[in-house]
Structure formats: structure tokens, C-alpha cells
């Protein structure tokens, strides 16, 4: 996946990303990149900042500091052609209850900038890829949560985006859906897409990811080896070690008369 200069192009880059919320949550300076052909997974406990990070990377939230580049283009300068190379599901998928599964895919194609004459072809392909044939003429309001998620994933990926961002995409999917998604992501990465995916399922992440980054307290605290033996233990070692280090730093700050935030202490399961 090299460019003419012999280097691998970056599909997605975030540098020094800071976004603070009232109450102390948010991002505290994250650097993260996804190269062409790479599946980069981010894992972390609830509230670690994964969704906030994805929102900032996609322009859903403006960062207080830092920069985002989508396929080499600075986010603030991103034009229609740049956004047409992006596919995402963060929180709710594009699945309007009043439309059929096919109808949702057709409007997704239009919104992704697909030329009208190509819509049917791409929608047919997406229906086949995500095994949605039975549900294509069914109103989305009548679909199960898992099938609605399949529709949303198909809607996000049907235009073959180069930059893919998926937040907990296996949520609600049945085992067959998980496999379809896995194959779909591996195929797209092999074709040169850069994929950022978040998940709570370490086993699933290990199956697809080239790289895993652990997010905790709004920071990237370290990598996990996708081929490691005990991923769960390695994950908790990193998170608990980070919690302990921060608690210690906060106590030091308090002892020096500074203000310290409260941290929730966790213990390994």
C-alpha cells in the first residue's frame, strides 16, 4: 500500500487532540493515525474517550486543540470529494425507520455523493455483501436491532470509502453478522482503506486489528499486541497501571497544595 514516494499514505491522522467537557471528561491530547491498508482498533473502558475521539476525528466535535487530517486533507479544509471518501457509524447508524432497508441504502448512496446512475449497482452489491436480501423490501422499523445495524454498516460502506470509522460496530450483530463485518473490513483494508474501529470485544479486535491502542482517561496509554496470548490481562495491566500512576500523581499534586481530580479506582476482574 505504498505511494509513489515509497511510503504508506495515512488515511486518518489526529495530532494533539484535546477536547474538554465540563466535569473533567474529554480528550487530553491524543495522537493517533491509521495508515492505508491498516485496521487500527481502539479499546478502553466505558467513558475512556473512544467515542469522543471518533467524533473529533469526523468533525462531529471541534477540538479545543489539535489537528485532524482525512486522507491527507486537513479536516477544516475537507471538501465534498474528501468527505465522499469517508464512511462512518458512530452511535446511531443511518437507518430511518420509515424507509425500507433498500431505501436507506439508496439515500445513503446519494448522501455519500454517489452519482445517481451508480446507486442501484452499489446498493445491490451492499445488499449481497451484508446478506440483506430478505430484508431489502422490509421497513426498517420492523427489523431487529442487529439487522438495523447491518443496514447501517452497509450504508456506511457501500461507496467503498478510503477512511472508515466504526464505533462498536459489532454491537447487536449476531455471530453471522460479526463474520460478515469482519470479512468486509479485511477486504476493504486489503484494498487500501484505513479503518479505525472501537470495540469492547478484545477477542474480536484481535482477529481483525493490525494495531490496538488502549484509551484511558482521554489519552492513548499504550499499544496491545493483537497476537498476544492474554489480551485481557495485558489490557487491564495497562489500564490499572495508568489509573494508579494518575492517582499517585494526583496525591502528589494535592500534597503540594494543588487541586487534584478524583479518579475512580478500578480493580481487575
Amino acid at each position: 500500500m505504498k505511494n509513489p514516494a515509497g511510503t504508506t499514505p495515512m488515511r486518518l491522522e489526529g495530532g494533539g487532540l484535546v477536547r474538554r467537557f465540563r466535569g473533567g471528561a474529554g480528550l487530553r491530547g491524543i495522537d493517533l493515525s491509521v495508515a492505508a491498508g491498516e485496521i487500527h482498533a481502539i479499546v478502553g473502558l466505558n467513558g475512556a474517550g473512544k467515542t469522543t475521539l471518533m467524533r473529533v476525528l469526523l468533525g462531529m466535535l471541534r477540538p479545543d486543540a489539535g489537528e485532524v487530517r482525512l486522507d491527507g486533507v486537513e479536516l477544516r479544509s475537507a471538501d465534498a470529494a474528501t468527505w465522499a471518501r469517508v464512511g462512518q457509524v458512530v452511535e446511531q447508524p443511518l437507518a430511518y425507520a420509515e424507509l425500507t432497508a433498500r431505501g436507506n441504502l439508496e439515500i445513503a448512496a446519494r448522501l455519500h455523493g454517489v452519482e445517481r446512475r451508480r446507486v442501484d449497482e452499489l446498493v445491490d452489491h451492499a445488499i449481497e455483501e451484508f446478506d440483506l436480501g430478505r430484508y431489502a423490501p422490509v421497513r426498517t422499523s420492523r427489523l431487529s436491532l442487529g439487522n438495523r445495524q447491518r443496514v447501517g454498516l452497509a450504508a456506511a460502506l457501500l461507496h467503498e470509502p478510503a477512511v472508515i470509522v466504526l464505533d462498536e460496530p459489532t454491537n447487536a450483530l449476531d455471530p453471522a453478522g460479526v463474520i460478515l463485518l469482519r470479512e468486509s473490513l479485511l477486504r476493504r483494508a486489503a484494498a487500501g482503506a484505513g479503518i479505525l474501529v472501537s470495540s469492547h470485544h478484545l477477542d474480536e479486535v484481535a482477529r481483525v486489528a493490525d494495531r490496538i491502542t488502549v484509551i484511558n482517561d482521554g489519552r492513548a496509554i499504550g499499544p496491545l499486541d493483537p497476537h498476544g496470548i492474554d489480551l485481557e490481562r495485558a489490557f487491564f495491566d495497562l489500564v490499572l497501571g495508568d489509573d494508579a500512576a494518575r492517582a499517585e500523581a494526583a496525591q502528589g499534586g494535592t500534597a503540594r497544595g494543588g487541586t487534584a481530580r478524583n479518579h475512580t479506582r478500578r480493580s481487575a476482574p
Binding site: A80, A81, A84, Q92, Y96, E98, L111, H112, E115, L122
Partner: protein
């Protein structure tokens, strides 16, 4: 790697998408049915009450009670539409905009080549087209009622009165647009509906008090009550409402963050 973009026609894509959503939704269909059928039934009921000599209804109608034929029918319908129509238009707009937040689908409208401002404008354009359709449909239904009541024979000269009706419907739809902005800022349906109720109350109170001919949200209601009391130029101020609030709406969608 990626599908080719059609750089032109992004607004066209937004309009097509919003039109499809509106066509498929029960909300828009039932709003149309309830509005048109409701106004038709109400107008017939009022005419029947006047014919039966119901004093309270006659007192409410004021000078309109003594007007028969097409002018009387249209006069009743435009008065009902000025309030009832605005409620229906406000509900429809609140749904079109607020549902994206209530259903959570707004997140899927980010990171797309079609800008969010175009999506907001697409919604407003579809709303305007729908409102024109409602105007035509309601005028047709009222014409049918008038013909059934025999006005085609007894008051053939007054048929032209019907032309007031589509104009009033469209003007009423135009002053409903602040509901879209409110639903956007409030991130849901209820702020839009509350704003609509506020506009109805202010417009009706000022119209009854016979003030505010030059206030855009009042002019249609005042024109409905007493067409001669409103200079034509005052009605021309009405489009300032959708222009201002449509612009605010597009701006709010363009600058939106998912921070709530």
C-alpha cells in the same frame, strides 16, 4: 478506491433524500389528511350551525355570519386555517427537523459530502413543496364542498373568492418556519411545537386586537379575518420570516456539534 463524487447537485441529493423520507413517513401523510379533512369537516359544521341559528357560533363569526355563498365558506375556512393550519405546519416541521435528534440519526448526517446546511435547506424546500400541495388539495376540497352546497349555481360570481385560500395556506406555512430553527436548537420535536403554539397565540391575539398588519407573523391571520384591512405590501413582508429563520436554521446545521 472510492466511488466518484458528483460535485454538482449536492443540494439536489439532499432534496431527493428529504423528499423520500417525507413521502414514506406516516407523520406527513396523517398531518395532510387531518389538516384537510379536519378543516373541511369544521367548515361544514360551522355552516350547519349558522344555518341552524346557533347564536354562539354566529356571535363568534361576527360579520362573517351574514355572508353567504363562496365568500362565507372561504371566510370560515381561512379563519380556521390561519390557526389550525399553522399548528399542522409547525408539527410537520418540528418532526422533519426534530426527529433527527429524537431518533439519533443526526450522527449519520455528519462526515458526508452533502453539507448539513444543504440537508436543512433540503428539508425546508420539501416542506415548501408539501405546503403548496396541501394548499391545492385544501382548495380542491373546499371547492367540492361549495359545489355540493350548490354555490356553483347560487353564487357563480363568487367563485373567485376561492383564490384567497391557497394564498393563505402558503403564507401560513411560511410563518411556521421558526419551528424548524427551534427544533434544531432544542434538539427535538417539543421545542418546535412549543414555538408553533407561541406563534399561533401571538398571531391570533394581535389579529383579534387588530394590530400588527406589518408584523409578518400576524399579517396572514389578520388578512384571514379582514382581507381589506391589510395592504398587499404587508403580505409581502411574510417571506422575511422563512428567509431569516431558514438562514438561521442552515447556519445552525452547518455549525452543529454533537456535544449534547
Amino acid at each position: 478506491m472510492s466511488a466518484r463524487v458528483a460535485p454538482r447537485g449536492l443540494l439536489g441529493a439532499a432534496i431527493a433524500v428529504e423528499a423520500r423520507k417525507a413521502r414514506s413517513s406516516h407523520v406527513m401523510l396523517w398531518t395532510t389528511v387531518l389538516l384537510v379533512a379536519g378543516i373541511g369537516v369544521l367548515a361544514l359544521g360551522i355552516l350547519a350551525a349558522v344555518a341552524a341559528g346557533e347564536e354562539q357560533v354566529i356571535a363568534k363569526l361576527g360579520p362573517l355570519a351574514g355572508v353567504g355563498g363562496w365568500a362565507g365558506l372561504v371566510g370560515i375556512v381561512v379563519q380556521v386555517t390561519a390557526a389550525g393550519g399553522l399548528a399542522a405546519f409547525g408539527v410537520a416541521l418540528s418532526w422533519m427537523f426534530g426527529r433527527e435528534f429524537a431518533d439519533g440519526t443526526v450522527a449519520a448526517l455528519f462526515a458526508m459530502p452533502v453539507p448539513r446546511a444543504a440537508i436543512a435547506l433540503g428539508k425546508l424546500i420539501v416542506y415548501a413543496i408539501w405546503a403548496v400541495g396541501v394548499a391545492v388539495l385544501l382548495t380542491g376540497v373546499v371547492a367540492g364542498i361549495g359545489l355540493i352546497l350548490g354555490y356553483g349555481v347560487t353564487d357563480a360570481a363568487g367563485f373567485g373568492e376561492l383564490a384567497r385560500l391557497p394564498l393563505l395556506v402558503v403564507l401560513t406555512a411560511l410563518i411556521g418556519v421558526p419551528a424548524a430553527w427551534a427544533a434544531t436548537l432544542g434538539r427535538g420535536l417539543l421545542p418546535g411545537i412549543a414555538t408553533t403554539i407561541g406563534i399561533i397565540v401571538v398571531a391570533q391575539l394581535l389579529a383579534i386586537a387588530d394590530v400588527g398588519a406589518w408584523v409578518p407573523i400576524v399579517a396572514p391571520a389578520l388578512w384571514a379575518i379582514a382581507p381589506d384591512s391589510i395592504p398587499a405590501a404587508a403580505l409581502l413582508t411574510v417571506p422575511s420570516v422563512p428567509l431569516a429563520f431558514g438562514g438561521l436554521c442552515a447556519l445552525a446545521w452547518a455549525r452543529m456539534q454533537l456535544d449534547r
